[in-house]
């Protein structure tokens, strides 16, 4: 338990982004070994490792790969580097500081699923990161690590960096595919699932940056080794982006199952002097808030689920007692209303109405019935949308109304914020 550097083992080296630095640490040797294995063996190792998707949903990676039909039709691997969920800034560290780790992970994964082409869909704002990746690809191709004959093997692998243009919904995997095809980023109706009909209607696997980067050490050290880390169902290490009111915000790599309090109060330096913990958003802005009394739990998928929230992307947002919960909830509601693609009526209208209601409460014009109205919108919206964004919008709103009802009522009755925010 606690900190362990698997994904972050290189990031503090000088010039960690260069191929020469990466190769000194044994870089691309795992790819070389992997290309001598049977693709199915690689899938087996990943299954054995227990690795689950780090983009938010936590779907078992090996299982996802096994859905790809074993035909000769072209297949694609897409790396999701959209990183748009507020509070999340972990993929950026790998992209900027250890791009070759990601590229090696992508190459191994391509081979495992039978793809020769991979696209890295990176959020438009990360232009610097996109340049780092493009330079890294060029270096790796020139050196023969990637390209026509990666590490001397007859299995071409081409990786292309594709920039988004500012739309959070494009992080959703099917919206991402539409965006990659040059369209508005509208989530698609499933089925068909991307594994059978994805990019250009071909079998496609979409994985997060951290997921694909984890594959390198899993293949190098074995699925059993990875599975020996963590808890019964949450394996390996995970990157946590911790921000908000802690003294040492940042990205930390922890073994799954590390106590939540250890992350907040020890690793991230705890609260500022004289302040107390009020609430935590544990897994990115869409995950339900936990109160200070609810975080005596380990950080793993199951424990967060049991506590009524989610591990999500591992983005921990810490709020101390100077925070007005109503105001911050209003801010998050605005985000989701702004980012709704508008295809489904419950999401388009529901997110908009939640903003209107929260706005009047913040402005001292709220009514007591508004709280039940918010919960009612939650019932109408929840589960009635094409993609998870609709449900995501409910996370902060419903949890805060339920857990901080008194604070809402104070705003409504006294017509102002008790915190002064």
């Amino acid at each position: 338990m606690g900190e362990m550097k698997v994904l972050l083992k290189n990031v503090h080296k000088p010039n960690s982004h260069l191929l020469s630095t990466y190769k000194e640490g044994g870089g691309y040797e795992t790819l070389k070994a992997a290309l001598k294995m049977e693709p199915s063996q690689i899938v087996e190792e990943v299954k054995k490792s227990g690795l689950r998707g780090r983009g938010g949903a936590g779907f078992p990676t090996g299982l996802k790969w096994s859905f790809v039909p074993k035909t000769d039709a072209p297949k694609y691997l897409v790396c999701n580097a959209d990183e748009g969920e507020p509070g999340t800034f972990k993929d950026r560290v790998i992209i900027e500081k250890d791009p070759h780790l990601l590229l090696e992970g992508i190459a191994i994964s391509c081979y495992a699923i039978g793809a020769h082409r991979a696209y890295i869909y990176i959020r438009g704002e990360y232009e610097f990161g996109a340049q780092v990746l493009e330079n890294a690809i060029r270096e790796a191709e020139e050196d023969g690590c990637l390209g026509d004959r990666p590490m001397g093997h007859d299995y071409p692998i081409y990786i292309t960096v594709h920039r988004g243009a500012g739309a959070y919904v494009c992080g959703e995997e099917t919206a991402l595919l539409d965006s990659l095809e040059g369209r508005r980023g509208h989530p698609r109706i499933r089925p068909p699932f991307p594994a059978s009909k994805g990019l250009y209607q071909s079998p496609t696997v979409i994985n997060n940056v951290e997921t694909l980067s984890s594959v390198v050490d899993i293949i190098a050290r074995g699925g059993d080794w990875y599975a020996s880390l963590g808890t019964e169902k949450s394996k390996g290490t995970k990157l946590f982006s911790i921000s908000g009111h802690v003294q040492k915000p940042g990205v930390y790599e922890l073994v799954m199952g590390t106590p939540f309090k250890e992350l907040i109060f020890e690793i991230a330096g705890g609260m500022r002097p004289g302040r107390n913990l009020k609430a935590v958003i544990p897994g990115g802005s869409s995950t339900p808030m936990l109160t200070a009394d609810e975080i005596d739990i380990p950080l793993d998928y199951e424990s967060l689920m049991e506590a009524g929230s989610m591990l999500g992307s591992g983005a921990v947002i810490v709020l101390d007692d100077t925070t007005c919960i109503v105001k911050e909830t209003y801010r998050l509601a605005q985000f989701y209303a702004h980012e709704s693609c508008g295809q489904c009526t419950p999401c388009r209208e529901g997110t908009h109405w939640m903003v209107q209601i929260l706005k009047r409460i913040v402005n001292g014009q709220g009514r007591e019935e508004d709280l039940d109205l918010l919960l009612h919108i939650g019932d109408t919206l929840g589960g009635n949308c094409l993609c998870p964004l609709g449900d995501a919008a409910l996370g902060p709103v419903i949890s805060s109304v339920k857990k901080f009802r008194d604070e809402y009522l104070e705003h409504i009755k006294n017509k102002r914020c008790p915190i002064g925010g």
């Binding site: 072209p74 990183e83 748009g84 969920e85 507020p86 509070g87 999340t88 800034f89 950026r92 082409r117 959020r123 438009g124 704002e125 990360y126 232009e127 610097f128 292309t160 594709h162 920039r163 988004g164 243009a165 500012g166 739309a167 959070y168 965006s179 990659l180 095809e181 040059g182 369209r183 508005r184 980023g185 250009y200 982006s241 911790i242 921000s243 908000g244 009111h245 915000p249 940042g250 990205v251 958003i281 802005s285 983005a315 947002i317 709020l319 925070t323 911050e328 801010r331 998050l332 985000f335 702004h338 980012e339």
Partner: protein, 163 residues
Amino acid sequence: MIAKLCPFPLSPEGEKRIDHLLNRYPDKRSALLQVLHVVQDEHGGYLDMDCIKYVARLFGLPPAEVYSVASFYTMYNLRPVGKYLIQVCTNISCSVNGAEEIVAHIEKRLGIKRGETTPDGKFTLITVECLGSCGTPPAMMVNKEYHEQLTPEKVDKVLDACE
């Protein structure tokens, strides 16, 4: 072709990039977002109807289709912006760490409100969603550069350096 069709003078570098992008994907249309980025960069940071029509011709698409795509994404500016586009994140991790004070400071210094451009066309100020700098808040971008852990003094330095 690429430079000839363009309604404004395209740099040789821009022409090269567009040519490369148009031939990079199994389906040409995939390059649409990337080409819009290049055209916007070459056209002073925004896309007008002539730019949209130009891109439409490159892809053999109706201009309305290209406009529909461009208008979906927040990074494409469909109206002129200042020489320096200031984007301050006001999402949660920045907002609990003083983002509003940063916005207020810039508004005061430039004499404009968020969403506005200074009369000399030098600065445009907008607020944006999470930039992925939540660990080093508050954060902003000025054109393509990130600036993090902002204080009013730090903002002044950054803006002083804008010519």
